[in-house]
Assembly symmetry: C2
Homo-oligomer: 126 residues x 2
């Protein structure tokens, strides 16, 4: 269960608005990015939130991976996005693929500012 | 998009084996725990991995929340579990509910050892 969990919180995203509000489009780009990174999707769920007085609702998209998971939440009214890419290293070190997936997703959203973090998971012995 | 992301990596879990290998049972307990914590589920996906020569396969369960997400991965051959509870604070501070949900889930798995982490998300201004 050793693995690497990358997070990125993206601000002032310059991407086209569809990436922040179009659930099916975002889900499809996630699957494409997972595959391009050499990771394996085993399930996907997308939820589009209803519009508010501030404008269109955001989207949550999750891809279950053979190697763990990818989660995206969008905040269109703030042009913000949070990203999680978590890969376990069962069957090999997938850290480079996790970084590649994260870079691909960040390039979709084109943030002006971001906060990034890396967490090693499951390190202690039982 | 400000929020709190809790992680816990659980080792040497003393729970009954069903919580590590029974996808539908784990999915149901997640929904119950989310509701008990006062959070709102908006979607759920569960994936059960195939058995390996080491024994029954693990489970990935994700609950999409109005407040963000919950993800669980189990590793039955190691009696290990990783937990993620991420809540945004849109519409109120949901930090106490996130902690309550995490405690409830940890009590299901009964680990002998755990590593826990807290990450504040989305803090910088755009």
């Amino acid at each position: 269960m050793h693995g690497l969990h990358l997070t990125a919180d993206l601000h002032d995203c310059q991407c086209g608005p569809q990436w922040l509000i179009d659930g099916p489009a975002l889900g499809a780009v996630c699957i494409k990015a997972v595959s391009a990174a050499g990771l394996q999707a085993v399930g996907k769920i997308v939820h589009s939130f209803p519009a508010t007085p501030q404008g269109p609702g955001g989207v949550t998209a999750t891809v279950l991976l053979a190697e763990s998971h990818l989660c995206i939440h969008t905040w269109p009214e703030q042009r913000g996005v949070t990203l999680d890419v978590y890969v376990c290293n069962f069957g090999g070190d997938h850290s480079a693929k996790a970084h590649a997936l994260m870079e691909c997703l960040i390039s979709v959203f084109q943030p002006r500012h971001s906060e990034r973090n890396e967490l090693r998971r499951g390190q202690i012995a039982a």
